[in-house]
Amino acid sequence: MRGNLRTATAAAALQVGTIGLFVAVCAFFALMSPTFLLPANLLNILRQTAILAVLSFGMTTVIVVTSGEADMSVGGVTGFAAALTVTLLKLGAGTALAVLSGLGAGLALGFLNGLLVTRVGLLPFLATLATLNIGLGLEQWLTRGTYIPYSDPLIGLVANENIYGVPAAAVLLLFVFLAFYLLLDHSPWGRKVYAIGGNWQVARASGIDVARHTTLAFALSGLSCGLAGVLLVGRLSGLTPLAASPLLLDTLLAGYISGTVSSSGTPNVAGALFGALLVGVLTNGLAVIRVPTFYMNLVKGLLVLLVVTANAIQRRQAAVR
C-alpha cells in the first residue's frame, strides 16, 4: 500500500517536473529573445511541429504495444515515403496518386516491421533498425542522393500556408490527433493495444490476438511515417535526401516524454502531442537564439537520457511494488 503511494508520488513528481520543464523552456526563450513570443513565431512552431507530432503518435502506439521498445525506422520510412511521393509527382502522376503512394509506402514498411517482430521473432529495435536501412537505401536509390525540387500546390498549401490565419498543417495535425486519440484511447482496438503492452501473456490468455494487433500497431506507425513523408515534401518543396533522418531522435524524445507526463507512466496520445510541442519549442527556441545545430543535439541527447532514465527508475519502482 505504501509502495503504491510512493510510486504514485514519484509519477506525480515526474509529471510536474516535465510540465515545469516545458514552462521553464518557454520562459527562458521568451526572456532570451523578443521574437520568440510573437504570434507569427508561435504559429510557426505549430507548423514546424506538425510533422514531428504526427510521427510521435505512431511512435507512442509502438512504445505502448511493445511496453517500452521503439520504432527506430522512422527516418528511413519517412524518407522513403517522401522520395516515392516526390518521384511520382515529378513523373507527372497526380497529387492524389502520389500522396496515396507515399502513405502506402509507409504502411508497407511499417507492416514489414510488424511481421519481423511478430512472425520472425526479432527484437523490435533490431527489426526496425534493419527496416531503417532498407528505407534509407530505397530513399537514396530513388533520389540518387541529390535534392529533388518539386512544389505541388496542394501539398505545399497544407504544409506551409495559412487558412484564416491558422497554419493548415496545424489543422491537419488536429484531425490526426483526434483520429489517434479516438483510436488509441477510446476504441476497443486501443484497449487491446494497452492490454498487450501491460502484460501480453494475460492479454493472450484473455483471447486477444497479440501478434495481429502488435503487427497493426507497427503498421500504424508506418502509416504516420508515410503522412509525415508527404508533409516533408511540402515543407521542403521537394526532397533533400536524409532530411528525415534527424526526426528519429525528436520522435523518440516526444514518445518517451509522453510516458513521463502521463499519470500511469504509460505513454498516451495527448502526452505525445505535449512531447512533440516541447521538442518543437526547444528546436525553434534554440534556433531563434542562434545556437548552432550541433549544440542542439547535445541538449536533445541529454534530454533523451534524462527522460529514459526517469522512465527506467519509474518502471523499476513499479516492479518492486
Binding site: L129, A130, T309, A312
Partner: protein, 338 residues
Amino acid sequence: MRSTTTATAKEKTAPRPERTAWRLRGWSFLTEFGTLLAFLALCLALALLSPAFLTLNNFLTILRQVSILAIISLGMTLVMTTGGIDLSVGEAADAGALLSISLLSAGLGTLPAVLGGLAGGLLLGAFNGFLVGFLGVMPFLATLGTHTMAMSMEMVYTQGGLPIYPLGLLPESFNFLGRGWVGPVPFPVLILGGVLVLYYLILHRSAFGRRVYAVGGNAEAARFSGIDVRLVRFKSYLLAGLTAALAGVILASRISSGQPLAGESFLLDSIAASFMGMTLSREGKPSVLGTLFGACFLGVVLNGMTLLNVVFYLQTLIKGGLLLGVLALASYARTRRN
C-alpha cells in the same frame, strides 16, 4: 526488463510445426550452413566477375580493412552477449582517432597519445555502462543518447566537422600501428589477432565470460544465482568502448588524420557482423570466432561492391537487405534452440 522483452519477441512467434521431416532437415541445414555457403558463393561469384578479386594484393587489402571493423565488432559482440547493444561504438572509435591525433599534435609521444585516445573510449563506455548497468535504462535508448551527445561534442570539438590533421610529421611508431608490416602481414591484422585472443579468453575461457552469457540468457536467473548483473553489464560496455577506441586509433594511423564522424559507418556493420556470427552457432549464440567470420563476410561484400562499381546509393540498400536476412536467420536459429 530486457530479458522479458526478449521473451516477448520469442514467445510471440510460436514455432510452427514442420510439415515433414525432410523439410525440417532442409531448414536446419540452411540455417546452420546458410551463411557459410553464402560466403563461399559470394567469393566464387566475385572471383568470376572481377579479375582483381583473387589477387594477393586485394586479399591483404580486405584483411586490412576488415581488421578495424572486426575489432569494433568484438566489443559489440560482448555487449550483445549480455543482451544489450551499443549504438555509440562509432563515436568511441572517433574519440580514439581524434584524441590521439590531437595529443600527438600537442607534442606528446606515441604511447601517451594512444593511451589518451583509449581513455576517451573508456569514458564513453563507462557512461553507457553506468546508464545501462546501474540505472537500468534500456541499452538501445541509453546508447542512442550517448551517440547523439558524443556526436554533438565531436562537431563542437572539430568546429563543425573539420578533419584534424597533425601539426608536422607523425612519429614513425604511430604510423606503424595502421600502416606497418611485419614480414608479409599488415600490423593491424596482428593487432586484430591479439584482440581476438584476448576476447576469446575473456568470453569463452573465463569466469567473467560465463557470467556474461548467464546475464544475456536470463538476467533474473543470473541475479538469483549470485551474479552482480549490474557490474557485468558495466564492465561489458566499458570494454566495448575501449575496444572501439583502439580501432579508432588504428584508423587514425592509417589515414594520418582524425576524421570526425568517420566511425558512424562501423555501427551497422559491427551489428551485422555479430549477428552473422550468431548464425554460425548451433544455438544462435554470439561467439568470438563467429564475429570474425561475420566481419570477413562483410569485408568481402564491401570490397566486392567497390570492385564491381556498385553505386553508393545501392550499397545502403544491399547492406540493409543483408542485415535483414542475417537477423532473420539468427532469430530462426534461436527459436530452433527452444
